[in-house]
């Protein structure tokens, strides 16, 4: 069976000019990322802000085109799909439900818009499908006539999920779907996403910087640093026995819910490097606790270290 999502050596470069007389420089937002997502699974993509997670998501959605490499959804390259065809395969759920819904449309209009765009069904048929979809994401019938500003954050995110699913896509790109929500609501939305995944046989590309959330929902995890994947593997393996020093550092920075333990210490020195000026060799070496001379000169390749896991580090494990 073809994997639902296949990312093949994708690179995205932006040219940036800081001032009128400065020369143009190229910013590598995503650098040679390859990953596959088998059908019916959830690939969790984790990393710090600015590491290229969202750029990768935009490319999967076809909102941006890769500079190099290609992305296959359901075995077909995204770049060559028409906008309608692409929309039927892959749909987004965005982070901020306050900006992802048009404030001038009712919930019914927002959820029904994809049917409108694709010219599916007659007006009464569309109404029925919208009502079914709202029920599926746990919204009441009366919400159909509401405007987004009359709903809570959780309800808005349910509307966004309904809009994404009404075309029955096989792949849903969730770009931090819970990080703008209250903690209690986060759990509800996560459960809803997990439930819908099982019920509709969906696959998710699930982007987050919250490791606990990823642990809960993802079957596979890819860790990203400065536009590169540093560790990919089964969620269980990567998040409990990580091999890459960056993944280890991320995990040790997760706050524990036990009272009296205090905040975890920051295990990394330095700060996230400027993507315009990436360090030579391994991009992580200036902050790495186990770095040696070779790290500053030779970038490590992704290599299999454990069963099913690949790690990009000279001294992993």
């Amino acid at each position: 069976m073809t994997p639902i999502l296949e990312i093949r050596g994708v690179t995205k470069r932006y040219s940036v000019r800081r001032g009128m007389f400065e020369p143009k420089r190229s910013l590598m937002a995503v650098a040679g990322v390859s990953a596959t997502l088998p059908r019916g699974e959830v690939l969790g993509l984790v990393g710090e802000s600015g590491c290229g997670k969202s750029t990768l998501a935009k490319m999967v959605l076809g909102l941006e085109t890769p500079t190099e490499g290609e992305i296959l959804v359901d075995g077909r390259p995204v770049a060559s799909l028409g906008r309608l065809e692409r929309a039927r395969l892959v749909q987004p759920v965005f982070q901020d439900p306050y900006s992802s819904l048009n404030p001038r449309r009712t919930v019914a209009a927002i959820v029904g818009q994809p049917l409108d765009v694709h010219g599916e069904g007659t007006a009464p048929e569309r109404r029925t499908r919208v009502a079914e979809m709202l029920a599926l994401v746990g919204l009441a019938e009366r919400h159909a006539a509401a405007y987004p500003n009359q709903l809570s954050g959780g309800q808005r995110q349910r509307v966004a999920i309904a809009r994404a699913l009404i075309l029955r896509p096989s792949l849903v790109v969730c770009d931090e779907p819970t990080s703008a929500l209250d903690v209690s609501v986060q759990a509800q939305i996560l459960n809803l996403l997990a439930e819908l995944q099982a019920k509709l046989g969906l696959s998710y590309l699930f982007i987050s910087h919250n490791l606990a959330v990823v642990y809960l929902i993802a079957t596979r995890v890819a860790v990203m640093y400065l536009g590169r994947l540093v560790e990919v593997g089964q969620a269980e393996t990567v998040l409990t026995a990580p091999d890459h020093p960056y993944t280890q550092a991320l995990l040790s920075a997760v706050p524990t819910p036990k009272p009296g333990r205090g905040l975890p210490g920051a295990p990394l020195k330095g700060s996230f490097p400027n993507p315009l000026d990436p360090p030579p060799g391994c991009p992580f070496h200036p902050r790495c606790p186990v770095a040696q001379d070779v790290c500053a000169t030779t970038p490590p390749a992704l290599e299999s270290k454990q069963a099913g896991s690949t790690v990009a580090c000279h001294f992993a494990g």
Partner: protein, 292 residues
């Protein structure tokens, strides 16, 4: 839109309309002026062009009760034409020019601004250059020159002002569109397969209404003022059409002895412009979606 909303929203919006005295007063004043202008033949007691040379320069009652004539509520001008009738017919010219100019400049400016804001890059560079070029032209000078060449008439004034006053539309729509473009619901619309025209018409434009109303009202008021100025200089609409600016111009010869002649059309212009601006502000406040 409010009609389809759930109960509490309608109530809130009604509250926002009724709780804004500026909006109510300006709407009533503007409504009265528009009705008067549209049904001018019904409201005007006399033909605005009819000259009764025996009854020249009769002041209105509140200026000079002794010389006033009850047949002429606001007096007569130097050719014995009823001043009230001329003011009522003059409202037609002002509103017509204001509205048409706003329409012409609004279509040009909004199209340019939205295109520049949404597409960015080269389109933005070209539009910004055109805006800069336009801003470097003094409106009155260019209008004077063109009208001097093409001759003053209502059509020429509308066209000239319409082709000159689009800059604010373009600038405001450009920056508002740039803000909207980066919002997730625009990305979501593209992700569901919506075409670019569809995104522009159903996602961007409806959310531009608030700033558009404000700019449109301001530009309409501006056009009315400019028409008055051009007519005052003798380059706008031509006599005997009863334009308010023209009335001010005709009255200036008598300013020393009959100052009310210049005061009345001046006051009319002032009230109309004020009402339009207040209405624009009020509508913006009442239609902006909550929480934004």
């Amino acid at each position: 839109m409010a009609a389809t909303a759930a109960g509490p929203k309608v109530g809130k919006r009604r509250g926002r309309v009724l709780g804004n005295p500026g909006l109510i007063v300006s709407a009533v004043v503007l409504g009265a002026i528009v009705i008067m202008a549209v049904f001018a033949p019904l409201f005007a007691p006399y033909d605005p062009y009819a000259q009764i040379l025996d009854d020249r320069l009769i002041p209105p009652a509140f200026i000079d009760a002794e010389l006033a004539d009850p047949r002429y509520l606001l007096g007569t001008d130097n050719l014995g034409r009823d001043y009230l009738s001329r003011l009522i017919y003059g409202a037609r010219i002002s509103l017509l020019i204001g509205f048409l100019t706003m329409l012409v400049s609004g279509v040009i400016g909004t199209a340019m601004g939205v295109a520049a804001g949404y597409f960015g890059g080269r389109v933005d560079t070209v539009v910004s250059f055109l805006v800069t070029t336009r801003l470097s032209l003094p409106v009155v000078m260019v209008a004077l020159a063109v009208v001097a060449i093409a001759g003053g008439s209502l059509q020429v004034v509308v066209l000239v002002l319409g082709l000159l006053l689009w800059d604010r539309f373009a600038v405001v729509m450009r920056s508002a569109t740039m803000q909207l473009r980066s919002l997730d619901y625009v990305a979501a619309a593209r992700a569901i397969g919506a075409s670019t025209p569809r995104v522009l018409l159903s996602e961007i434009l409806p959310n531009l209404v608030s700033p558009l109303v404000v700019v449109a009202s301001y530009e309409m008021a501006q056009a009315i003022l400019l028409e008055a100025a051009l007519s005052f200089l003798g380059l706008g609409v031509q006599p005997p059409l009863p334009s308010w600016g023209l009335m001010v111009a005709e009255a200036k010869e008598f300013m020393l002895f009959e100052p009310w002649m210049i005061l009345l059309p001046g006051l009319a212009i002032c009230i109309l412009v004020l009402a339009i601006n207040l209405l624009g502000d009020g509508i913006r406040d009442a239609t902006a979606p909550e929480g934004r």
